[in-house]
Amino acid sequence: MFSNHKYIAFETIVIKEVRRFTRIWLQTLVPPAITISLYFVIFGNLVGRRIGDMGGFDYMEFIIPGLIMMAVIQNSYSNVVSSFFSHKFQRSVEELLVSPVPNFIILSGFVVGGMVRGLLVGGIVTAMSLFFIDLEIQHPLLTVSVVLLTALVFSLAGFINALFANSFDDISIIPTFVLTPLIYLGGVFYSSALLPDFWRGISAANPIFYMVNTFRYGLLGVSDVPVGVAFMILTGFTIALFIACLVLLNRGTGLRA
């Protein structure tokens, strides 16, 4: 396929994906904004006032980076997993499979669609946080890099989930039983300095812990983990998941009999 044809195919998939989640904006954009606003009000404002400072910041300020990341992670993942599985379920994925679109373009198109939704919701949540705090970004480049990489990692993970999923149950198991606990235990609401040594060690095995802390470093300038290590972990996950997705697509896992 010529490169201009590949670009048109890629653009087609991305536009289709964006059109899909914006068409159902009441299901895709509004609920996360409302949920995160409730976190701001309840945990940040009402409960946070009694907690006081965390990591040298007002509790509300401390949790905002984690809440933004939570929105990015959940929406990037759920967009790709639900969209690609719907294509499988309705068999409209066959439109793509019989066409000459290379596998890496199929993957890139869906992943970028997931990233756009993750970043859009992250943007909405960030905008809402401005009602509660004055946000000054300490390291803008780092902040943008880490949020992009995180959206990419979870879009890729959502794609793998969709490839293996055979039912709607299969696309909710990972977000419910794996993703949500990892996010909540990933330092969104607390500093790891509060944890006993054992639990701090466990947290170190949670990749989301690194993402949240690096993003917090970008926004607030403080982190529980070395930023360089966090970037290496993020990059490693991105490369590993991208390769895994391509291998599975080339094998036709979950797609070709």
Binding site: T12, I13, E95, L96, L97, P100, V101, R256, A257
Partner: protein, 313 residues
């Protein structure tokens, strides 16, 4: 002869061990209108699945217009349009968007895609529905939409897997006309269908597949020439108790009810001879009709023959 499709020793064994194709070989000439027939589970859809890359073959080679589908993925897919048996587009998208998106997958610039989209939606009577969500379309419209989608990149080879299943007679006839016109304009068409009349009307060549093997591969004319018996239902004016004795005439008969009987007649016997035999026996015929489609008789006899040969082994 330029070959549109060349299949050699194609095998497919599914993960559960089911052997769907047992080494079939088949050639379809460019410009042909080809019928691939067989009972349910014979291997038709698996063959089409392999041609369209939705099913991974276990062995053998497949070439489309002389290019191997494994080594020339892009070129062979560009030449191919597929209309599947089941509806496989998003039910939430608009009719026009479905066709435009497919054009995008083929790398078609937006202006050209819009022109092609209009051309094929108009030809298939769907232009007025272009802004409707696809889920509101009738069954026949959904099938036509799948044909428009498969044609948007103007492939040289179109594969239709039971395109008229569940479609009313009027629409079926109009689809036949459309497909004939398309074939006459140079598109090679491969058709699977359960309506054998459809294959007889449209196709020039035919392959019958059963239990993963090709049991017949010939021209429609040759196949129909091989038909040696006709089956009719004869309705009579006055009630009869039993079928008459036909003497040496190559006829066997069976009474259905006092006013009708079924006869199997050697193809060599002319209709005039047949009516002479009726007159000689004092039978006043009020109506006579062919009981089954000619191809249907051959189809069933070929399947029976192949299964008997198989059981002898």
């Amino acid at each position: 002869m330029t070959t549109a499709i060349a299949i050699k020793n194609l095998t497919k064994t599914y993960a559960n061990g089911f052997e769907a194709l047992k080494g079939i070989s088949l050639e379809v000439a460019q410009g042909d209108f080809f019928a691939l027939l067989g009972p349910n589970g014979a291997g038709k859809s698996t063959t089409i699945g392999i041609l369209s890359t939705l099913v991974k073959k276990s062995g053998g080679t497949v070439e489309i217009f002389g290019k191997n589908v494994d080594s020339h993925v892009y070129e062979t897919k560009l030449d191919l349009g597929v209309v599947p048996q089941e509806v496989n587009f998003s039910q939430f998208e608009r009719v026009g968007d479905i066709v435009m998106t497919q054009a995008g997958y083929y790398g078609m610039p937006r202006k050209l895609a819009a022109e092609r989209c209009e051309k094929y939606l108009r030809k298939l009577g769907l232009w007025e529905k272009r802004n409707e969500r696809s889920r509101v379309l009738s069954g026949g419209m959904k099938r036509r939409l799948m044909i428009a989608r498969a044609l948007v990149h103007e492939p040289r080879l179109l594969i239709l897997d039971e395109p008229t299943a569940g479609v009313d007679i009027e629409l079926r006839r109009s689809m036949w006309e459309f497909l004939t016109e398309l074939n006459e304009s140079g598109t090679t068409i491969i058709l699977t269908t359960h309506y054998l009349e459809e294959a007889e009307q449209l196709c020039r060549n035919i392959a019958i597949i059963d239990k993963g093997q090709i049991v017949e591969n010939t021209s429609m004319r040759q196949l129909l020439a091989a038909l040696d018996k006709h089956l009719y239902v004869v309705e009579v004016e006055s009630p009869i108790d039993s079928v008459p004795d036909w003497g040496d005439a190559p006829i066997t008969a069976k009474l259905i009810d006092p006013l009708s009987f079924e006869i199997t007649v050697d193809a060599k016997l002319s209709m005039s001879d047949l009516f002479r035999l009726f007159l000689e026996r004092g039978i006043e015929v009020s109506a006579i009709r062919s009981k089954s489609n000619r191809l249907e008789q051959l189809f069933l006899s070929r399947l029976t023959d192949s299964r008997e040969e198989g059981s002898d082994v």
